[in-house]
């Protein structure tokens, strides 16, 4: 069953590209930030799919003696950090969008570029 083992990587690729598309093709700045958060969520999915072990459970060892299979804790730690990085970037991006809205009265990328060129 080839597909079962690799489906996560394809979904990772798909989400990465959906986010990347939104970042490049969409003009609305808030939509770009949503695309950015999808783009970053794809990476979280990649790391957590690496951590999965067949028949394993979350790495919480209630009694060390029991021979249990656990999933890999390291990617989960990395992703805990990356999630909070993602939301920090989104929060800062939103603050900049709010300031751009007050300065340019629009949050469409092409209109802003036209206003810049004219001034």
């Amino acid at each position: 069953m080839e597909i079962l083992g690799l489906y996560n990587y394809w979904v990772f690729g798909a989400l990465l590209m959906i986010g990347f598309f939104a970042l490049i093709a969409r003009q609305n700045l808030v939509k770009k930030l949503l695309g950015l958060s999808i783009f970053q969520s794809a990476v979280f999915l990649l790391y957590i799919s690496l951590a999965k072990v067949e028949g394993g459970t979350a790495p919480i060892i209630l009694d060390p003696t029991a021979a249990e299979i656990f999933s890999n804790p390291l990617p989960q730690v990395l992703i805990l950090t990356a999630i909070v990085v993602g939301i920090s970037t989104t929060a800062l991006g939103l603050a900049i969008v709010v300031r751009i809205r007050e300065a340019y009265d629009t949050i469409e990328d092409d209109e802003i570029r036209r206003l810049d060129r004219r001034s």
Binding site: T57, A58, I60, L62
Partner: protein
């Protein structure tokens, strides 16, 4: 036995998602989000029992709480932006 319940819940989440995608008005989408959140809580509880790792139930409680706050936040912000857009004299800031 848990399989049946979790299958049904996943099906409902799929239906809720289609409602969220189709929903003509914003309130339909809020309804879909609310349904989705409750079903996630249920699915979490059932899967926790399915895997036998029942110490993850407080995750389900966190989801329920976050979902409630999310729905209320959407209503409040949507209401205030409608008021601002409509420029009702009553609540004019």
């Amino acid at each position: 036995m848990y399989i049946v319940a979790s299958l049904a819940i996943v099906m409902t989440m799929c239906l809720a998602l289609t409602r969220a995608l189709l929903g003509p008005t914003v309130y339909d989408r809020v309804l879909a989000v609310n349904m989705f959140g409750t079903k996630t809580v249920l699915l979490l509880a059932v899967v926790a029992f399915l895997n036998g790792r029942t110490d993850f139930l407080d995750l389900a409680l966190a989801y329920a709480l976050i979902n409630f706050i999310g729905v209320l936040a959407v209503l409040v912000f949507f209401q205030s932006s409608r008021e601002r857009a409509a420029g009702k004299p009553g609540e004019q800031r």
